[in-house]
């Protein structure tokens, strides 16, 4: 049973978020595995952080149910490696069953939301649509080599309302925490031997937001820390918690949130920062049908750094520098004669008025407005006033 969270009875016919998380950190038939080696391993080994990453995504969702646009309804979880009691391994059969049940839940309400999080090994073929996620039993010698792999595009296509599933959730988030290194040494058409998860038909009318966030570009790897998590999940959680630069935006009702587009903007910044110390190249990419839906709300505005760069006419430090919020409440007064790097403060994102009084001559006053939604430097030049 992959269902580890279930509030369907409580929600009744109301829309909910239906989540499927599949993490494979142990492949018996790949390099360093404990089973007979697959006849082709593509050099792939054991992506140890995958299991931990899958478990932390479950934990994050359970802890943040109140921040989702509609209530969390179900979580299905399959994990191979770092086994935990009651959690099924991510074999082909289990994956097909879990995706089928997940699809059935997605049909409960068109205002529902689905999340798919995949982490583990994968193979990329020449067409960017031919990207195969490898399940735990990949390479077990039964059937074709790629039988225990699923083409990710088939999952996304199969969740389409174009199949005639008019009641399917129209907001769908796909997080593919997978490398996209090429499958070298096999025929390009081998991807066709991967297992289809859903029937897909000729395209019909598409009216869903189905944003797909890839952890890597075609040809790249996706990385993590052996004793920790994948960098992608670190970056994703930074974004979903609003701490990544530029990811927090205001919804129409004024609440702060993370939208599908702002997530993309913040994702790469976080990922680059996290991978830089290891000199790794990993690029987040979004595809699918991307609109601007809300993934989650934030508790409040993000706190960002605000630097005021004051140039007085005589080069002396200003007499006073004060910051007022949009309602004109003083939120910060710098120490008298503060200047240069001292005029730096962390503030919640928003509109601010900065009032600067020059020390001399004549204690001239300058007011400026600034919209702060990321690290900002506001330059105030008394010569130019």
């Amino acid at each position: 049973m992959s269902l580890v969270f279930d509030r369907r009875a409580e929600l009744g016919d109301r829309p909910g978020v239906h989540v499927l998380i599949a993490g494979v950190g142990r492949y018996p038939h790949l390099e360093d595995g404990d089973g007979p080696k697959a006849r082709e391993t593509f050099g792939l080994g054991q992506p140890i952080p995958a299991a931990r990453t899958a478990l932390r995504m479950r934990t994050w969702l359970e802890k943040n149910t109140d921040r989702l646009p509609v209530p969390l309804a179900t979580i299905r979880l399959l994990v191979s490696g770092g086994e935990q009691p009651g959690i099924e391994p991510c074999t082909l059969e289990n994956f097909l069953k879990a995706t089928s049940d997940w699809h059935a839940d997605a049909l409960r309400h068109r205002d529902g939301v689905t999340w798919l999080y995949l982490v583990g090994n994968s193979l990329q073929f020449r067409s960017r649509d031919h990207h195969v996620f490898l399940l735990q039993d990949f390479g077990d010698g039964v059937g074709p080599l790629l039988r225990n792999g699923v083409n990710v595009s088939n999952i996304i296509s199969g969740m389409s309302p174009a199949r005639g599933d008019d009641s399917i959730a129209r907001t769908q988030w796909y997080f593919l925490d997978l490398g996209r290194k090429f499958a070298t040494g096999v025929d390009e058409l081998q991807w066709q031997n991967s297992t289809a998860v859903f029937d897909t038909d000729l395209p019909g009318i598409e009216d869903r937001e189905a944003a797909v966030y890839h952890a890597s570009e075609v040809g790249e790897g996706a990385y993590g820390i052996t004793a920790g998590h994948s960098f992608y999940s670190d970056a994703l959680i930074e974004c979903l918690e609003g701490t990544a630069e530029g990811v927090a935006v205001q919804a129409d009702d004024g609440r702060w949130c993370v939208r599908s587009t702002s997530l993309l903007e913040g994702f790469q910044r976080s990922l680059s920062r996290l991978t830089a110390p290891y000199r790794l190249e990993q690029h987040a990419v979004a595809s699918g049908s991307i609109r601007n839906g809300i993934l989650c709300y934030l508790d409040g505005p993000p706190v960002v750094e605000f630097h005021i760069d004051v140039r007085t006419r005589d080069g002396r430090a200003p007499r006073t520098v004060e910051i007022f919020d949009a309602a004109n409440t003083a939120v910060h007064t710098f120490a008298a004669d503060a200047s240069g790097e001292q005029l730096r403060v962390n503030v919640p994102a928003g509109i601010y008025r900065v009032k600067v009084v020059e020390a001399s001559p004549g204690e001239r006053v300058v007011n400026r407005l600034a919209m702060i939604n990321g690290p900002t430097t506001l330059r105030i030049d008394f010569d130019g006033v």
Partner: protein, 393 residues
């Protein structure tokens, strides 16, 4: 034909536009009866659309984030389009598959001169979509009765051929594709849409592009046009580029510019909603544009000459506080507007540039209200200013 060709080793914007209306092998008025012609007929607005896009780019050539280095334009206009826009007569050099292939090859060569180049591709014409991919139909589509997709190019194949490879290590990284064509699958059952003409060899290579792909329609939908004018999508796109997609330029701002720009992401954010308005106006309610891929790093496309003007309403709460003197100041605290006392009509409506404003409400001592200052960010999505006034008591 090349409208601009200033390609050199410096980064620049390289544009390739194809607009096909006069399909040589399709019937003029009635949809083709044969399955091999996919039930299609000639078009009346798509070549003109290509022209409109090129015209807009040429007019705005000095406002782009990089120099406009090359503009390639392939047009196959109808007689009606030439009548509507006589300049099309001299640009009518056709857009057969071979024309398209040669222009694509030249575009790719220019694009591969510098990794900092920006490439923009726009196609307006017939298109079809299957689960195997999307196909662009050229002027000579339907010439070969034994092969449906002769005179056709695969959209995916075009995009894949623009990868940076060992042969073209300096391929421009930022690439935008606008596909202004239908995405219907009618008549396709059983046909192999991969069997298009081949533009070029494609290599398997790492994809490090900042790649964005915009479709005028979602899968399964048709793309519509104002007959004899332009497609609905091109109208929406140009309006978004003009000012609907405007956003404050990120810091540090470019000296000498207005501080307002349109970027790939700002375009994406508004295009769908604005397209909906255009479609509603045309009663084409079953067309929704779609961003199929969006680069994770934003790119400024062009700078606006000035902040976009916007209609705002200014109100006080409670309305009894209308008796105050309301001054509107811009972000530099320069007076922009002073409202009549009392405010009448209330809410007061005026037109101001988008941006940050400070509003100061001052009351005479005999009035029962406290003075109030508040700041607002006036944007298209937040065009209302409401000043909450407290009573003195």
């Amino acid at each position: 034909m090349c409208l601009v060709n200033r390609a050199n080793a410096d980064p620049g914007i390289h544009v390739f536009i194809a607009g096909v209306s006069a399909y040589a092998n399709l019937p003029q008025d009635q949809p083709a009866a044969t399955r091999k012609l996919l039930g299609l007929k000639r078009l009346q607005s798509t070549a003109l659309t290509g022209f409109r896009i090129a015209d807009w780019l040429m007019k705005r050539r000095d406002s782009f984030s990089l120099p406009l280095a090359s503009v390639r334009l392939l047009l196959a206009p109808s007689e009606a389009e030439i009548k509507a826009e006589p300049r099309l007569a001299e640009l009518n050099h056709g857009c057969t598959f071979e024309d398209f292939r040669l222009a694509a090859e030249a575009w790719r060569k220019d694009m591969s001169s510098n990794a900092g180049n920006i490439g923009i591709f726009y196609f307006a014409g017939h298109g079809v979509q299957s689960d195997k991919g999307h196909v662009l139909l050229m002027e000579d589509f339907g010439a070969n009765p034994s092969r449906v997709f002769s005179g056709a190019a695969s959209t995916e194949h075009l995009i894949d051929g623009m990868l940076s490879t060992w042969e073209r290590p300096a391929m421009g990284r930022t690439q935008l594709y606008f596909i202004d064509a239908c995405r219907v699958a009618k008549y396709l059952d059983g046909l192999d849409v991969k069997a298009t003409d081949s533009l070029w060899d494609t290599d398997r290579a790492n994809d490090h592009r900042a790649l964005s792909i915009f479709y005028a329609a979602s899968e399964g939908q048709a793309a519509y046009a104002w007959p004899g004018k332009q497609t609905l999508y091109s109208q929406a796109l140009i309006e978004c580029l003009e000012d609907v997609a405007a956003k404050p330029e990120p810091q540090p701002q470019t000296p000498g510019r207005s501080g307002w720009c349109v970027s790939v992401v700002s375009l994406h954010k508004v295009l769908k909603e604005h397209m909906q308005k255009v479609c509603d106006g045309a009663k084409a309610t079953d067309q929704n544009c779609e961003t199929q891929r969006l680069a994770s790093e934003d790119t400024i496309l062009h700078f606006l000459d000035a902040p976009p003007q916007i209609d705002v309403s200014i109100a006080v709460n409670p309305t009894e506080a209308r008796v105050g003197q309301i001054s509107v100041l811009d972000s530099n605290f320069t007076d922009v507007d002073t409202l009549p006392v009392p405010i009448d009509p209330h809410p007061f409506r005026t037109k101001i540039p988008m941006g940050l404003y400070s509003v100061f409400a001052k009351f005479d001592p005999d009035k029962p209200f406290k003075d109030k200052r508040a700041s607002f960010h006036v944007l298209r999505e937040s065009p209302e200013i409401v000043i909450h006034i407290e009573s003195r008591s």
